[in-house]
């Protein structure tokens, strides 16, 4: 009788282990691979980050970013934009057109933020605000140096007063050097 009891106990333990093992098996055979399709796919995030970085460096090379940064209305906003930045798409400049063509027309939403330095602190000026980024947004950043003799642009694109003599969102980091400020342009992209 004692022997049979031990055998039953062993059998029960084995059965339990079998059950657990089958649960484990079932869980593990349905793996989430990098190619599993979903809007939160890591591959799409990588791809969008690369897209943002490529766009920024190509436009930096073309020299369209700085004129867009200088497309500033001295009343305290970008030309034709609310204080919180453009919210219908990119700014009406060459850089804005590229943003629209590369991102918005492919159903990729984006925000553009400009970080500048005031008294050693990083502050933010929104340039484009198409909403709050999702949890799976990617960002790309690039720095641009503004000089005292750079000129802000009027609404029609012609050159206005120099930064040293204009009212601009970023302050002059050092009035007695030719460097006005260093700004970091941040492009945040996510799937709509």
């Amino acid at each position: 009788v004692t022997d049979r009891g031990q055998a039953h106990a062993l059998e029960a333990i084995t059965a339990g282990m079998l059950l657990l093992a089958s649960v484990l098996f079932a869980l593990q055979v349905t793996a989430v691979t990098p190619l599993t399709g979903s809007t939160s796919s890591q591959h799409i995030e990588n791809q969008q980050a690369a897209l943002g970085e490529g766009l920024l460096s190509a436009e930096a090379e073309n020299g369209t970013v700085v004129p867009t940064l200088l497309y500033w209305n001295e009343s305290g906003r970008f030309h034709d934009a609310p204080a919180a930045g453009y919210h219908g798409g990119g700014p009406p400049t060459a850089f804005g057109n590229v943003l629209d063509e590369t991102l918005r027309q492919r159903n990729i939403a984006f925000d553009v933020n400009v970080h500048y330095v005031r008294n050693g602190n990083r502050e933010r000026q929104a340039m484009v605000d198409l909403g709050t980024p999702s949890d799976h947004a990617s960002t790309a950043v690039r720095s641009f140096t503004l000089y005292d003799d750079d000129r802000i642009r009027y609404e029609n694109g012609t050159a206005g007063p120099t930064l040293a003599n204009a009212s601009y969102f970023a302050p002059d980091a050092a009035p007695d050097s030719r460097v006005y400020n260093v700004v970091e342009v941040e492009v945040v992209v996510w799937r709509m």
């Binding site: 691979t33 050097s177 260093v182």
Partner: protein, 319 residues
């Protein structure tokens, strides 16, 4: 009966072993896939941030050297301090941004080379301040950013034999070798540059002067009207320092053989410079300038430690 019982247990054990093996296989397979997933999440150590920082620093320093060189400065220490201060301001301002992406950066000036900026800003014949036809532009120097902007009509019209006819030339003489750069009209609307090397071999480049009848000759970058002119790539064969001089700016009958503007930067201090340019504001003028600067750049993040020396000499022949 005993035999049958034994067989049953063996089957059970065999089945169990198989099941365990299958589970282990699934776990292994999944671990491999998961590793692949993790490995592709990060696109690498992200060296592009360091390279971008270097590119930003280089372009800022180049434009600063160029801009400061073209401004009148009271003395060399003011010029040096102005440059160093600009670099420091940029370094500190940029650092606020890089620290936000968890990288520590710095850009420091290690040394600067004083020099002189010699320029003729208004269209004029290429004589010195007292209208002499042959004169020394700079003695015992290296030169960078040497550009001329001349009108075609002012040049002597000897498409084929500029050397025999003594047309205007810029000469580079290091004591043993002399290279001569002749400027003259080419056929129809063209402008030509003929370079004569120390063994008297002549090489010519020709370019169309364009609608405004002007052409830019960048001697240190070896371009004529924006096109490569291999004849002018002789600076690497010119060892040591050399004298830069203009010869025959006027011809035998005192008629100009060239008219336009030019500018160059030499690595000789203004107080030691032997030049026919005016050091007190006339045309052509010579003022204090920075010839070059050396900077030390550091970029340090969790994955990358990058340090490099930058030599900034915009428009130098080996630039």
């Amino acid at each position: 009966m005993a035999d049958v019982n034994d067989r049953g247990q063996l089957l059970l054990v065999g089945a169990l072993t198989l099941a365990v093996m299958l589970v282990a296989l699934a776990v292994l397979l999944n671990a491999a896939i998961y590793t692949g997933n993790i490995a592709t999440r990060d696109a690498g150590a992200g060296t592009s941030a360091a390279i971008e920082y270097e590119a930003g620093a280089t372009s800022m320093a180049r434009s600063t050297v160029a801009v400061l060189s073209e401004q009148e400065s009271g003395n060399y220490s003011m010029l040096r301090d102005n440059f160093t201060y600009t670099i420091d301001v940029w370094s500190q301002t940029t650092r606020v941004h890089t620290v936000a992406s968890l990288a520590d950066t710095s850009l420091e000036t290690t040394s600067t080379t004083s020099g002189s900026y010699i320029a003729q800003d208004e269209d004029r014949q290429f004589t010195n301040e007292s209208n002499a036809s042959n004169w020394t532009v700079a003695n015992d120097s290296h030169v960078r950013a040497f550009r001329m902007n001349v009108t075609r009509d002012s040049l002597a019209a000897y498409p084929d034999a500029p050397v025999d006819n003594d047309t205007f030339r810029a000469e580079f003489d290091n004591g043993t070798d002399t290279w001569r750069v002749y400027l003259h009209q080419g056929d129809v609307d063209n402008v030509s540059v003929t370079v004569v090397d120390p063994s008297n071999t002549e090489t010519t480049c020709t370019v169309d002067a364009g609608a405004d009848g002007r052409v830019v000759i960048d001697i240190t970058a070896a371009t004529l009207g924006g096109q490569d002119c291999p004849a002018m790539t002789f600076f690497d064969q010119l060892s040591g320092t050399y004298n830069v001089s203009y010869t025959d700016a006027l011809n035998d009958t005192d008629t100009e053989q060239v008219n336009g503007t030019y500018s160059l930067v030499v690595d000789r201090r203004l107080d030691q410079l032997d030049t026919g340019a005016d050091t007190s504001g006339g045309e052509p003028s010579a003022i204090r300038a920075l010839y070059s600067a050396e900077l030390e750049l550091t970029y340090r993040s969790a994955d990358i430690y990058y340090q490099t020396e930058l030599v900034i000499a915009p428009g130098a022949a080996d630039d």
